[in-house]
Symmetry: C2
Subunit: 682 residues, 2 copies
């Protein structure tokens, strides 16, 4: 079989079904071919395949699955117990630097936590809070004195902590947190205080029960000798909150958030501080310090830049959350696809007995489109993890690269968690009554995944952040242009300027160079055409958003109205950006695949990702004349045909996720238990 | 203020913001005007307002809300206890005919159960199963002997029952159920039997614990003297399943479905029958009977028509499920809208402190569009309930009217439950971390509502059913046409033939007569234009679906391929039909509103419903040249402007839902508890 190239998939011209069927041979058997599964899985597993396998084995051996019917107390204890066993197995060390007692394998650490998404998200979140967020704050915002004092204990769970950033009235707007940390030079202490009800720390994982320490984000207020006290912006402080017996320390009032939509093994809670004193040394002082006399100092002059630099060091949490959500989304899809391959319903028109659910086009659409998106996002996520790893390994990371990574982390987090949540809801519905039973896990996954769309950055806020970053880059490039120059620029003279920055991949570059033809005259199956459609959409949206934003500077413009009226436009910019970078990462990953059959199948999956993305935004493409009506109809047909082409490979595609068998061991997938073959086929 | 007419709303031409703002005066105060709320509420409450109020008062007085942290056993006991109190208050009588001991107020009964959707869906479902499904089967499929023996006990809960239709391998495909009921003339008994694993009765509400009786749907097999036994299709039998102590009766094996995605107060379970004998008299014999000697008789000759007639009598369940889902969807929207009016986030560009969430356009879009849809569906639901009431009141309902009602019930159920589920998910996300806490109810509502999209008819199956009904009606009208005649017909000679049938409303007729102009030349704000856009979409989809279906009859066509390839087309037909009939019902309801301010506001809500529906399907409208690009852009702008116009009325709109205060009494809506006003506005 010839190796397909990046330019076009071997799937035939859309609209010609016979050619298509020839391109992707019918698998002819319901059993997935092991070699093909292995090749796909190697691609999905990527660089940290070993980390994945270690966690898969742990999930399988320990039966780490969402539990049913446990009390909150028992569930929390179970999860903490599992974490202690992970310590014994050396699990947390990868997340910390070698000079702090870890092994410094960021990519491995993130990938391991991601893989817990095949097990139990309660464990994933609680492990992520302890080792990623709390531990990450100490490691990245603290200095030697903190590393020496805490990191070993954080790794081995002697020091149980929580990450006290969010406040009741302030989730996404961290810069406006109300909690104060006022320096008291007389005693050399900070006074941590909750001034209002809305300043209460809220939804904090670990604060409900287990955490003894909190990394508290608060407005640092201090004065040098003879100065008036002044706020230096948000900083982070280590604050002990409970004693050895678990009782609140003086001045600290914790309470329990109780039952939630899911994640029953995570003890979310609230903390209110009533003028709690901590030593000056408890300030995590890497980016800002207070001398004994109250003098403030920082290596970063600008309060704003310091704040974003500090937040930037915590990027790993956002990367991890997107990754783990993706894993759970894949698990949900695997459950539903496998059910659709055992469950029958309604006779087919040829009287050959009831059809398998997955033989219905509507069922193919609602499961195979998210499967295609899951492939695209999984591979983009892998690329992001590798970039995070590289930056955290380097001694002196380029600030521009850090900033680009932050934008990409926001984009992938928003897109991947949205996909996971939607995919699991679709999977639940696709399994009907069986999908609603806790024993079949889908409702538990649905409850657990739900909050991923709004924590670690609300997806809408993150999507706007992505758009704003793009606009800023755009404006930088045209700074200094005259008004007429700006207008010309906007009119298309340099339409791709902002986009160029993030695309350094060879394969994408080559495709892009080949893709200057009119989309109407080139094949929709051409990678270059597909890439150009998504790039042009993003560039067009960005250009017009920039033009609108520019009006905000006009004298007679009401800034609130300009801002408000552009908000949904910005969301669309962000969403278009997300799909474009995911496609590029997908193409880059496919380019590296050696196995020809796997490559061919991945190209078909990529086609479905692109076609369905375009179909989903068809109104935009038509309204902005990026597609003709005829082309649009071909896209719609193409989605259906790709679903039909991929139908025989559905089990192969989900088997390649490498979900541990225990996660799929549910009653609805046990044919002997419930589902009979039709009489004439039995 | 002049009373607006149906032809155009007084909201100005879309695209001209100043005109719009003039049309809907800014309410100027955050407090909803009580008269406006009352007028809107009267419209929404409709004919059975009294039934609603009785249930509202009960919810308020008894604190009927989703509970947190109860064991399954305690929750079930609580719900059953509440049902016993409802008996004491005379609640169930409305659902039964006067000659059976009820009061025969179908509309009141359905509306009362709907209103439980503002309280606790566990109670709604359990009450619906006992009095609606189980009681309804006995009343509608049984005859005097059953009515006398059971109905009184069903009303007062002496006879606790369940509705054993669904099987593990057969949910939506009732006609292919496997459970058998073989008549044994020697003893004058039926032998009820579960022949395979997939024939197990599954997900049956009440079968897990409380039900003593089941109405069991099974294939009736019997033989007259000297005949071979033959299957007469699905019939319903009363089968005792538990003794007084709650133990399974001999031959009956029940088991418990345990935890589910929600509805913890409903004891869903499974039943397996091992050759269980029941007396011949336990056949509910209204539509088919077996004589002592085994001779089968029925007033309906055709097995197929008998089956659908029997199912048709059970339509009330489907109507009720859509109604209750709608109520819970409104509750979820009320919670999220009210939170968006107390919670602030991020400074506005004018430095006037943090903005309320609902001041953000993205937040307006994600909440106000579902609010508009909730109005539309609530009023369409009311119309459906009134039609059900009329048919159940009439002695001899016209079969065509019954069939039309069934189609409409399927359509509204599918659309209303989809809306409710999506709206609650959007509401949860719109409340961020607070929305994920059980104490704020949204995750409980999300878990409870989820299954409504797939029970009482899977929404995808129902939507196809709607489309098939339309196609059948379409084909009936052209029966007898030659091939050429069919082609001509399809080409547009009588495009609206199938649509005409369901539109008898005066206002809609008038609007339709006025709406023959080219959509491009008439105002988008014109009701006639809006109606025509939705009608033309449906007619176009129906016409093209008919043409595809016709190809299934060609000699060289593969029927499976024709069927499969048309399936997503059929879904689109059904969806387009749903939105069109909902719009017509909405317009009809608005036409009857006397209060001018309420009428004006409702027209704006209707505009948002239509504009957002078109925006959501923009690709189709553009692809099929039903809208020009310029028009399409005006629609998109229009959605945003309507959101801005309705923003000051958001609280008015949700207050008019008449949600009992106890349902809104959640911590996140208590400002003193959690959310501070910004310092400069406090």
């Amino acid at each position: 079989m010839p190796v397909p190239t990046a330019e076009t998939s071997r799937i035939g011209t859309v609209g010609n079904m016979s050619e298509q069927t020839a391109a992707l041979p019918d698998s002819g058997t319901p059993d997935p071919a092991p070699e093909l599964v292995a090749a796909l899985r190697a691609t999905l597993d990527g660089r940290w395949a070993t980390s994945r396998d270690v966690v898969r084995e742990r999930i399988q051996a320990h039966g780490i699955t969402p539990q049913v019917g446990l009390s909150l107390a028992d569930y929390r204890a179970r999860v903490l117990g599992e974490m202690r066993e992970m310590v014994a197995a050396g699990f947390p060390a990868a997340g910390f630097r070698t000079d702090h007692g870890g092994t410094g394998d960021t990519g491995g650490a993130v990938t391991a936590i991601e893989t817990l998404g095949y097990g139990d998200l309660s464990l994933m979140v609680k492990a992520g809070v302890q080792w990623g967020l709390f531990g990450g704050a100490i490691e990245n915002l603290g200095t030697a004195r903190h590393h020496e004092k805490y990191i070993r204990g954080i790794i081995d769970l002697e020091v149980l902590g929580c990450f006290a950033m969010t406040e009741t009235g302030h989730g996404s707007n961290v810069q406006e947190l109300e909690t104060t940390a006022v320096y008291v030079p007389e005693t050399g202490e900070f006074e941590i205080h909750t001034p209002t009800g809305s300043a209460r720390k809220d939804y904090i994982g670990g604060a409900g029960q287990h955490a003894r320490y909190a990394s508290v984000f608060a407005q640092l207020v201090t004065a040098g000798p003879g100065e008036e006290p002044v706020s230096r912006g948000v900083h982070c402080f280590v604050v002990p909150i409970r004693d050895e017996s678990g009782a609140d320390l003086p001045g600290v009032s914790t309470s329990d958030c109780g039952y939630k939509g899911g994640l029953p093994g995570v003890d979310n809670g609230r903390i209110v501080f009533d003028r709690v004193r901590v030593p000056r040394e408890n300030l995590l002082n890497r980016y800002g310090d207070v001398a004994p006399d109250g003098t403030y100092s920082s290596p970063i002059e600008s309060d704003n830049r310091r704040f974003f630099t500090m937040l930037g060091t915590l990027i790993r949490g956002r990367v991890t959350v997107g990754a783990a959500a993706g894993a759970t989304g894949r698990l949900g899809l695997a459950l539903a696809v496998k059910y659709a391959l055992v469950r029958r319903q309604f006779d087919g028109p040829d009287d050959a007995g009831e059809l398998l659910l997955l033989d219905y086009r509507t069922h193919q659409r609602r499961l195979l489109i998210p499967v295609a998106r899951a492939y695209a996002f999984a591979l983009a996520q892998n690329e992001l993890v590798a970039e995070l790893h590289a930056i955290q390994e380097s001694e002196d990371a380029d600030p521009a690269a850090v900033r680009e990574l932050e934008g990409k982390a926001a984009a992938i987090k928003a897109g991947h968690t949205r996909l996971a949540s939607d995919a699991i809801s679709a999977a639940r519905e696709a399994c009907g009554g069986a999908g609603y039973l806790a024993e079949n896990r889908l409702p538990l996954l649905r409850g657990d995944i739900d909050v991923f769309t709004t924590f670690e950055g609300d997806n809408l806020v993150l999507t706007q952040l992505v758009a704003k970053e793009l606009l800023t880059a755009y404006a930088d490039d045209v700074r200094g242009l005259s008004a007429i120059g700006w207008v010309r620029f906007v009119a298309g003279a340099a339409r791709d300027v902002a986009l160029e920055k993030t695309a350094a991949r060879q394969v994408v570059q080559t495709l892009r160079d080949d893709s200057d033809a009119d989309p109407e005259e080139s094949e929709l199956t051409s990678r270059g055409t597909q890439l150009r459609l998504l790039r042009n959409r993003e560039a067009h949206l960005l250009r017009t958003a920039a033009a609108r934003m520019r009006r905000a500077g006009d004298d007679d413009a009401d800034p609130l109205e300009v801002f408000t009226s552009a908000q949904d436009h910005l969301i669309k910019v962000g969403e278009a950006h997300i799909e474009r970078i995911v496609l590029e990462a997908f193409l880059d990953a496919i380019d590296k695949v050696g196995d020809p059959a796997a490559k061919e199948l991945l190209f078909a999956v990529c086609d479905l990702f692109v076609y369905s993305a375009i179909e989903n935004d068809m109104g935009w493409f038509l309204m902005h004349r990026q597609l003709s009506v005829e082309r649009a109809k071909a896209v719609r047909r193409g989605v259906n045909e790709l679903c039909a082409d991929l139908r025989p490979y559905a089990e192969t595609l989900v088997d390649a996720f490498g979900v541990p068998p225990v996660a799929l061991d549910v009653p609805m997938l046990d044919p002997s238990n419930s589902v009979a073959a039709p009489p004439d086929r039995g």
